[in-house]
C-alpha cells in the first residue's frame, strides 16, 4: 500500500475530522491530525489489518514558531510500509495525548520531546525529564530558549581562550617555561 493510500484510508475511516494531507516539501506525504484524536487514530493505524503500522519508528518534535509540531514516523514490519503523521499544537498549550498505550516504545521518545521541546504528553505514565537534570529551567530545543547564567552556582559558560588570549602572549611564555 503506498503512503498516500494509507493516509487516504485514514481520512475515510474518520469522517468529520479536520485532516490535512500535505505532499509538498517532504519525502513522505504526511497527515496533520488534530491533537485530541491522536490516540484513536494511532490505534486504528496499528490495528487495521491492511495498515498494521506496528512500530513507531521515530517521534520528533519541531519548533515552528507559534506552533510546536510532533512528528510520528510509523512503520509496518508486516506490510513494510511507512506512514507519517503530524500533530500541531499551539506553543502556549502544547498538550498531546500520549501514544504510549499504542506503542510502548513511544514512552521514552515522548519523555525526550517533553524534556527538550516542552511538549506535554497527557496520560504518559512517567513524564519526567530524561536528558537534563530535573530542576533545569526551560526546554532547550525551542528556538527562543536562553541558557541559564548559572546552574547551582556553576557557571554554564566559560571564557573563550581565543578572546582572552590577545592579553597574554602564550607561545612566548611556553618557550620560557621550557
Amino acid at each position: 500500500m503506498n503512503e498516500k493510500n494509507i493516509l487516504e484510508k485514514v481520512m475515510a475511516e474518520f469522517p468529520g475530522v479536520a485532516f490535512e494531507l500535505i505532499e509538498e516539501n517532504t519525502d513522505h506525504p504526511y497527515l496533520v491530525i488534530p491533537a485530541e484524536r491522536t490516540a484513536g487514530i494511532c490505534r486504528f493505524l496499528r490495528d487495521d489489518p491492511d495498515l498494521r503500522l506496528d512500530a513507531l519508528s521515530n517521534l520528533s518534535s519541531v519548533d515552528e514558531g507559534e506552533i510546536l509540531t510532533v512528528v510520528y514516523h510509523l512503520f509496518s514490519y508486516e506490510h513494510r510500509h511507512y506512514s507519517v503523521l503530524k500533530v500541531r499544537v499551539p506553543r502556549g498549550a502544547p498538550d498531546v495525548p500520549t501514544v504510549q498505550t499504542v506503542w510502548p516504545g513511544a514512552g521514552w521518545f515522548e519523555r525526550e520531546a517533553y524534556d527538550l521541546m516542552g511538549i506535554n504528553f497527557m496520560g504518559h505514565n512517567d513524564l519526567r525529564r530524561i536528558m537534563l537534570p530535573d530542576d533545569w529551567v526551560g526546554h532547550p530545543l525551542r528556538k527562543d530558549w536562553v541558557e541559564q547564567e548559572e546552574y547551582h552556582g556553576m557557571g554554564t559558560s566559560r571564557n573563550e581562550p581565543m578572546d582572552v588570549l590577545p592579553l597574554a602572549d602564550a607561545p612566548e611564555k611556553e618557550k620560557q617555561s621550557d
Binding site: 581562550p161 581565543m162 582572552v164 588570549l165 590577545p166 597574554a168 602572549d169 602564550a170 607561545p171 611564555k173 611556553e174 617555561s177
Partner: protein, 175 residues
C-alpha cells in the same frame, strides 16, 4: 544416575545432565587451547612512547590528522578555513591599509584545545597553506599554551597573492 529431563524452561540451562558435563569439558578444553596458543605467540603491544622501533610520529600515515599547521607564506587570507570550521577554533583578522590599499593579516590563531581535527578547514584552502601534521602530542601545563599563533602579536603579514583557483572558490561560495 538418571538423566534429568531437558530443562529448557529454566533460564540459562539447556541439555541433559551428562550432556552438559560433556559440553563443559569439551568447550573448556577448546577455550583453554586457544588461550594457551596465544601464550606461545608474540605479544602485539607497542611500547609507546620510549620502546618503539621508531617514533610513533613517523609511523603515522600521510593523511593523519594531527595538530594543524599553517604556512604563512602561501596563506592568501581568504578566510575559507575560518568559515569552514564548525567550532570556530580558527581566528583570522585582516586589516586593510587605507593608504596602500593592501590587506594585512594581523592575527591568525588556532586553538588546538578546541580543534576537533575534522579536517574541514584543509579542504577549502586554495594554496594548501593550512594542513594537518603528524604531531599529536600536545600536552602542556596550561590550556592557553595550546593556542597556536601564526602571526606574532603586534606584527602584520602580507598575504600571498591569490592564485586562479581561489577565484573559483570565491565564486562557488557565492552560489
Amino acid at each position: 544416575m538418571a538423566t534429568t529431563a531437558s530443562t529448557d524452561a529454566v533460564p540459562g540451562f539447556r541439555g541433559t545432565y551428562f550432556g552438559r558435563i560433556k559440553n563443559a569439558i569439551i568447550s573448556i578444553m577448546e577455550g583453554m587451547s586457544v588461550t594457551l596458543g596465544y601464550l606461545l605467540q608474540r605479544p602485539i603491544t607497542i611500547q609507546y612512547p620510549d620502546r618503539t622501533p621508531k617514533p610513533v610520529k613517523d609511523t603515522l600515515p600521510e593523511r593523519y590528522r594531527g595538530i594543524l599547521e599553517l604556512d604563512m607564506k602561501t596563506c592568501t587570507a581568504c578566510l575559507a578555513c575560518e568559515r569552514a570550521c564548525p567550532i570556530g577554533c580558527i581566528k583570522i583578522e585582516v586589516v586593510k591599509d587605507k593608504e596602500t590599499k593592501k590587506r594585512y593579516i594581523t592575527r591568525f590563531d588556532i586553538d588546538i584545545a578546541k580543534c576537533m581535527y575534522c579536517g574541514l578547514c584543509v579542504d577549502p584552502c586554495p594554496g594548501g597553506a593550512i594542513r594537518h601534521t603528524n604531531e599529536f602530542e600536545g600536552s602542556t601545563s596550561d590550556v592557553q599554551y595550546l593556542v597556536r599563533r601564526f602571526v606574532p602579536p603586534g606584527e602584520r603579514i602580507e598575504p600571498a597573492k591569490p592564485k586562479k583557483k581561489e577565484k573559483e572558490e570565491a565564486g562557488a561560495e557565492g552560489s
